[in-house]
């Protein structure tokens, strides 16, 4: 996500309750919010912004299933058929002793797969530059940003002053 040259108007809020109320207000005024940024996850924000639930965990399930099958089938093939070994007086196909490794590979595949999927979806990776709207957003400020070219400036400014934004700025990111 390099710089896109988008011109934005953004307002900063001191408190998450102000933020939630402002987002509700923006929805009722049909102002199209570009993005909302907060230093921590705010409860109840996702449904207000109309964000659907992430489907990352569906991917996680299939990555995990792959791990289960890879571990179990590989051990079955190698120890049970290709190179049969007797150890500890156990049968060639000792299922209980496969379980811990199957479990570990399930966790490994699911977690690594989900991380890679997440980075790919978000376009993250080494060398990516993130446009930073305001450094205080990572500390104590909550931000609502509008795309300046798509919105009525006056309406946005009125919106910010009526919902208690402490600061309103324009910036090109």
């Amino acid at each position: 996500m390099s710089n896109t040259g988008t011109n934005i108007i953004y307002g900063l809020y001191d408190d998450e309750t102000d933020l939630l109320a402002a987002v509700k207000e923006a929805n009722s005024q049909h102002l199209e919010i570009m993005d909302v940024l907060s230093p921590f996850p705010v409860h109840g924000l996702d449904p207000l912004l109309g964000l659907s639930e992430s489907r990352l965990h569906v991917a996680g399930f299939f990555f995990g299933l792959t791990g289960t099958l890879v571990a179990f089938l590989f051990m079955t093939w190698s120890l049970g058929f290709d190179w049969q070994v007797i150890y500890g007086g156990k049968p060639y196909w000792p299922v209980p002793s496969f379980i811990p490794i199957t479990f570990e590979l399930t966790v490994l595949f699911a977690s690594v797969g989900m991380v890679v999927t997440f980075y790919t979806i978000c376009g993250l990776g080494p060398g990516v530059e993130n446009p930073i709207i305001d450094k205080r957003i990572t500390d104590n400020k909550f931000c609502i940003a509008f795309d300046a070219s798509h919105t009525n400036h006056e309406a946005v400014n009125n919106f910010f002053s009526s919902t208690g934004a402490t600061e309103v700025n324009q910036k090109t990111i």
């Binding site: 965990h57 399930f61 500890g88 156990k90 209980p96 002793s97 379980i99």
Partner: protein, 422 residues
Amino acid sequence: MKQFEIPTKLNTLLFAMMGVGLLSLGLTYFVFDGELQERFWSNLLHNSIFFTVVAFMALFFYCCNIVALSGWYTQFKRLWEAYSLFLLPGLLLIAFVGLSGMLGWSHLYHWADPASVAEDKILEGKSPFLNYRWYFMATLLFGGIWYFISRRLRSLSVQEDLHGTMDYKYHRKMRVFAAFLLIFGGFTSAAAIWLWVMSVDAHWYSTLFAWYSCVSGLIAMVALTIMTLIYLKAKGYYQNVTLEHLHDLGKYMFAFSIFWTYMWFSQYMLIWYANVGEETVYFKERLDKYPVLFWGNLLINFVLPFLVLLRNDTKRKYGTLIFVSAMLVFGHWLDYFLMLKPGILHTTHALAGHSHDGHSATEHAHHAAEAVGGFAGPGFLELGTFIGFLGFFLFFSYRALRNANMEPKKDPYYEESLHHHV
């Protein structure tokens, strides 16, 4: 919030359930029992222990939440207080079964038979711990202290309702008792489980048995909580308990089911791998004679809840939650069945062999024990006893729920609980 009144229909139902239980126990005792009355006493012990562990885990989990300063559960904490008060009848019933063994009415524990201990080196070596002195100490002294703490927490929480000023005065006192119970109850419950449950297989032991069986009780407790909350919501109580709370309880049920499996498998795999005769006998007995129960136990308590509760939305729907909860309460009852019954059957065989001298004794014993039902799997009388005990447990806790405000409005965490959001 209105005061809880047991609805008339529910009252009738609970009394009917208790009636079924009494009828089953009576039929077992007078009609369908063996020479040593092993079916009656083992059913009584099985259900008393199961519901006592459920009550204990309610107390334990409640204390965990108090010590962790968590507030999500505060609205319905009276429910857990009510569950934990069942410790009194539960412990008394277990003590009664112990007393019956001491008086020679029941013969459930191999270590309790002096003739067996005298000729058995292993039992003799364990006799300093496996004896009725310790049995009653665990049941009455340790259990009495658990019950005392559950009473104290209950009365502090009720006093807070009357005199509380939204400060932490009462909560601080409760925290002291809760912290004490976590340590004291953590150790003593393990000893109690060894004596009550594990010692029916008197030769066998497993170091993680206590965790494994207590987690069983914890899952059953959370499952009962979910079903009770959904029922009470339908009756117009606890309207502020939302899907968010049920979602969290569902997650606990899901997570502890996996933890239960982890314990089950750790116990199984180490014994399977080491392959030491006196340890494997426990699983050999169950795998050979109870294959359906043995694998069914894993299916009900792990595979099904895992697959059903894995998705996010199944923890937020009444249908799936009730389905899994009901299955898990029954499943963990079945788990206790499988922990207790094979060992008791074994003891019965051994003791019947003692009482009839001569070479036909074992034959006779086998004949006597195999004629009795209720050991190969739960029959109608076992299910009837379970229903009776479930009715008793619910009746007792609903009565306790009735005797105080349903919601602790003066609890400093009450407000947090209202806004709980996952």
